[in-house]
């Protein structure tokens, strides 16, 4: 006689309990990960958003003869510790370039010292009681205000926190990524096409395949050492330049592009290849006219993800000297430059409190770019998704 429903239910209870336990465990893991992510983002936003606001002081500047020699003569002595040193230092330079200004007066909003900025944001500052009194007076009269920090997006790095910006790092990143993409994309895609469409399946190609997969798992700092040894020491590529940085990162991105391209090529159904071969296409025509266009969205997605990965990379760039103090926005691929993660790294190691804010602000900019890159990869994949 077979078991009754009651008997079966008895046995099932244990199994149901087990699967429920597993379900709760996995949901817990997911929840924990989500919680960490939320914590991380909130912390970043709380620390980083104030970086986009900066204190400015409305200052009357008198461009006198003395000011051309000693900039401290140009503004009210009470304001000297409050206004940013960078602003004061730029006055003699301005007068040297435009001598007919001498003798005139002008009222402008100048960047405030980072200590003032920190004080206004409610952080600890090194201002003396007298200076605090001045600041309070100026705030009351509307001469000190928090404004949108355009300096952060239009200037390069600086030793004074208030005038430090991320532009030179953004430009450096863009140039480095151009080099990376220009090298890794064609080489990666062609390698994948060869391995997937042309190469015979023998020991040699299997060996290459295993090595490419292993390459993707190599610690990135080793690529930096390779870049240093080969590109800088052997080929003499200028150190710290977007060229050498891009070449080093291209080595790192290559396996990612090769692997994703091969996956994309493999997902093109064999029947399309047969149809093309049957019509008398040569192998290259099959690839160029039929397989590649169908695989392109997948290839693009993989490449963008590889690029985003390279963009967040710091370790190999430290080795090739791209972590440097770069106040000027780079103009060529062979000049010294820095990239966003390296800039964040530089700011993070500054002792001043005001740089903590810059660090978080830099991370926000980097994250925004990375998230939009990854989102574009997802959109691309969704848009061109094809079913056979």
């Amino acid at each position: 006689m077979s078991d009754s429903f009651d008997q079966i239910s008895q046995q099932l209870k244990r199994r149901h309990r087990k699967s429920a336990r597993l379900k709760w465990l996995s949901m817990g893991a997911l929840g924990l990960a989500g919680l960490f992510l939320l914590w991380f983002f909130t912390d970043m936003l709380i620390k980083g958003l104030p970086a986009f606001q900066q204190a400015y002081v409305e200052t009357e500047i008198s461009y006198s003869e003395e000011a051309a020699k000693d900039a401290r003569q140009a503004i009210d002595s009470d304001l000297i510790p409050i206004v940013s040193r960078t602003e004061i230092r730029s006055i003699p330079l301005l007068l040297r370039n435009e001598p007919d200004r001498i003798g005139s007066r002008e009222t402008r909003w100048l960047l405030a010292n980072s200590e003032v900025d920190q004080y206004l944001k409610g952080h600890r500052s090194k201002l003396s009681d007298k200076e605090i009194a001045t600041v309070e007076r100026l705030v009351a009269s509307g001469q000190v205000e928090q404004k949108f920090n355009s300096t952060f997006f239009t200037q390069g790095d600086s030793k004074t926190a208030e005038s430090a910006g991320i532009l030179s790092a953004v430009v450096g990143t863009i140039m480095t990524m151009i080099v990376t993409l220009a090298i890794a994309f064609p080489i990666g895609v062609m390698t994948a096409i060869y391995l997937e469409e042309f190469a015979p399946d023998n020991r040699f190609t299997q060996l290459i395949e295993i090595n490419i997969n292993n390459l993707a798992a190599i610690p990135s700092i080793l690529f930096g050492l390779l870049g240093l040894a080969i590109f800088i020491n052997f080929f003499g590529v200028p150190r710290s330049s977007p060229l050498v940085g891009g070449m080093t990162l291209a080595l790192m991105t290559l396996p990612v592009i090769i692997i994703s391209t091969r996956t994309a090529l493999r997902s093109v159904p064999e029947s399309i290849r047969h149809a093309a071969f049957g019509l008398g296409c040569s192998r290259w025509q099959v690839v160029k006219d039929h397989v590649l266009p169908l695989a392109m969205p997948g290839i693009m997605t993989g490449s963008i993800i590889g690029l985003a990965q390279a963009m967040g990379e710091t370790a190999p760039l430290i080795i090739v000297g791209m972590v440097a103090f770069i106040p000027d926005v780079g103009a060529s691929f062979t000049e010294a430059a820095t990239v966003m993660p390296a800039q964040i790294f530089t700011w993070a190691s500054e002792p001043e409190k005001a740089f903590v804010e810059k660090t978080a602000g830099g991370i926000l900019v980097l994250l925004t770019i990375l998230i939009s890159l990854n989102a574009s990869a997802v959109v691309l994949r969704k848009k061109f998704e094809r079913r056979w």
């Binding site: 015979p200 399946d201 159904p269 029947s271 399309i272 290849r273 047969h274 149809a275 093309a276 071969f277 049957g278 019509l279 008398g280 296409c281 040569s282 025509q285 006219d289 039929h290 169908l294 094809r386 056979w388």
Partner: protein, 290 residues
């Protein structure tokens, strides 16, 4: 074994053609045999052997295929009929483990010779596959692509004309003439298969190979394709694989019966289905296995 001894001799259908004319046509043969059917040789196959790695898939195949006829290859699954078909346009080259010996001759040239370019061969020997596989491009592009690739057309007007002709020949023109720019994959299965046929004939090959062209289609589409094959044989030599014996009986002028990689019998279709010479053929045709 009787069947073994027949393998050694070249099998030419029509040897018994005179005798056939006097016989009453077999039941279930809607098409009358074209008595003026050409007996000009299209492809000559001698002692063809093929191995997948170490396992032999074709043994000592020697048959002649004739121009402007439909030749059907029938036999149980795994008998090597599709493999044989792919030998005729060297599609087996795509499978790395395949090795071939013997002669496949077309126009006096050895198809497998090192000098023979498989691209040139496939231009003259087109192929239609089991599952309709139009390119994921427009209907127009599906057909225009290959002639353009082979430099058969240069002007846009010529290309338009060629596309129209191919679509008319495949009986698809009236159905698609207003939507030539729509993707080929938007058509129904039967239409897709006719699009694939149009694509193949647009290159103006001599031979069209069809690998079970109707096995993925419904009965009505199947009938349409069979009618089409009957029309197309006026222009092309058609070699079709089918495991539907009724289909072979309906469309084929000649039929070859494959079994375990050998050609057991090759004859005029009517003879084959009415008075098979071999016991194995008779067993297969009468449905005793397969």
């Amino acid at each position: 074994m009787n069947s073994m001894s027949t393998q050694a001799t070249v099998q030419t259908p029509g040897q018994s053609a005179e005798r056939v004319e006097q016989q009453t046509p077999a039941v279930g043969q809607p098409y009358t045999r074209n008595s003026e059917a050409s007996h000009e040789l299209s492809i000559r196959v001698r002692d063809l052997n093929l191995w997948y790695g170490k396992s032999q898939a074709l043994s000592n195949i020697s048959i002649d295929l004739f121009q402007k006829n439909v030749t059907a290859l029938i036999g149980p699954s795994g008998c090597g009929k599709s493999t044989f078909l792919r030998c005729l346009n060297r599609m087996n080259d795509l499978i790395p483990s395949v090795s071939i010996s013997g002669l496949v001759e077309m126009d006096g040239r050895d198809v497998n010779a090192a000098k023979m370019d498989e691209v040139a061969l496939r231009r003259r020997v087109g192929m239609v596959f089991q599952k309709p596989n139009p390119f994921p491009k427009s209907i127009y592009e599906n057909i225009a692509y290959a002639p353009r690739m082979h430099d058969m057309v240069s002007r846009k007007a010529d290309q338009d004309e060629l596309v129209e002709k191919a679509l008319r020949d495949s009986g698809l023109w009236n159905e698609v003439k207003d939507k030539l720019q729509e993707p080929g994959t938007s058509l129904s299965g039967g239409q897709q298969q006719r699009l694939c046929i149009a694509r193949a004939i647009a290159v103006q090959p001599d031979v069209i190979l069809m690998d079970e062209p109707t096995s993925a289609l419904d009965p009505i589409s199947t009938a349409t394709i069979e009618d089409l094959m009957d029309k197309l044989k006026e222009q092309f030599t058609i070699v079709t694989v089918t495991h539907n014996m009724q289909q072979a009986a309906r469309v084929a002028d000649y039929t070859a019966f494959f079994h375990l990689g050998e050609v057991i019998e090759y004859n005029d279709t009517k003879v084959m289905f009415s008075t098979p010479a071999q016991k194995k053929t008779e067993d297969y045709i009468s449905g005793r296995y397969g």
